[in-house]
């Protein structure tokens, strides 16, 4: 397959430890977590960092499972249901990165929510987590509405994200959480 060598080289240069693209279901979540754990163990990273990376990966994968709904694009066959997830590292940090399609309505909601989280400091995030956990019920998708708050808490860094417009009602959501070594 021409080009695949370049693809692999590029991924290696970027420090990729694990890359997956496709549908995310419970079976995929559990296999990816197992693979990620093996990689983290083999890399000999400090147990505190390892726990935080694993924790963030759990929440990211469960976000993809619960929220990446198949989208139909007018004029296109089929639906867009594929997500992408990558775990990579460099000399200073680990990065958990995801991508998935979402509708304009969901993009608006998510953008507000992530903006709010990024505006909070460490103690405020802790309070926000407590308040959301004790007061809110479960979301329609069965989540606790806590995933990104917890990711921000464990990451202790600004959440990095981007929405790429792909048509009238479709965006591609890119997300990156950093865990410093």
């Amino acid at each position: 397959m021409p080009g695949i060598y370049q693809t692999i080289k590029k991924m290696q240069n970027e420090g990729a430890l694990l890359v997956y693209t496709g549908e995310v279901n419970p079976d995929v979540v559990s296999r990816l977590l197992q693979l990620a754990e093996d990689k983290l163990d083999a890399g000999g990273c400090p147990s505190g960092v390892r726990k935080r990376v694993f924790h963030i990966l759990v929440e990211c994968l469960q976000n993809l499972y619960h929220h990446a709904t198949p989208l139909k694009i007018p004029g296109m066959d089929g639906t867009l249901s594929e997500s992408v997830v990558q775990l990579r590292s460099d000399d200073t940090a680990f990065y958990v990165e995801t991508g998935n399609y979402l509708s304009a309505a969901n993009k608006e909601k998510l953008e507000l929510y992530l903006g709010r989280i990024n505006s909070l400091d460490k103690d405020q995030i802790r309070e926000y987590y407590k308040k959301t956990m004790s007061e809110n019920g479960f979301t329609a998708k069965g989540g606790a509405g806590l995933g990104f708050i917890d990711i921000a808490r464990k990451s202790e860094e600004i959440l990095v994200y981007n929405f790429i417009p792909l048509g009238d009602d479709v965006y591609f959501f890119e997300f990156s959480a950093k865990i410093k070594l």
């Binding site: 505190g48 726990k51 694993f54 407590k130 069965g142 995933g147």
Partner: protein, 127 residues
């Protein structure tokens, strides 16, 4: 009919649960990261529903959790709130012992958060 002991073995995604009603001892530990937390915790909460009606004189809840996901965190809060109802039976006492690894400061903080939210006497102990 006396309530039976509840024993659930741990898996890679779900915690162990050892609840011994006559001793008032409840232990949970391991990791809790299932996608469907409802399916795992609902039967446990239903079991506690029966326990709190006729609890042991002293109820101790030991938490030895290593990891849990955010949807589990809400159910764990539910376990505390449910067990807190033993106080409705006169003379009953309830205590939580929250264990954390010495290099896991976040787990210690999480224990403090649950203590603040529930007002239950919590011992937070380095494992």
């Amino acid at each position: 009919m006396p309530l039976k002991t509840l024993l659930i073995e741990k898996t890679r995604q779900t915690p162990f649960i050892h609840f011994i009603p006559e001793e008032g001892l409840f232990k949970i530990g391991g990791r809790s990261i299932p996608e469907n937390t409802f399916a795992f915790y609902e039967p446990v909460i239903a079991w506690l529903e029966d326990y709190v009606k006729d609890p042991a004189k002293v109820t101790v809840f030991e938490v030895h959790l290593e990891y849990f996901n955010t949807s589990s965190s809400k159910f764990i809060l539910e376990l505390f709130r449910k067990l807190q109802q033993v106080k409705n039976v006169s003379g009953s006492e309830f205590e939580v012992i929250w264990f954390y690894d010495k290099d896991d400061e976040e787990m210690m903080e999480t224990g403090e958060d649950y203590r603040d939210l529930t007002g239950i006497p919590f011992k937070i102990v380095e494992a």
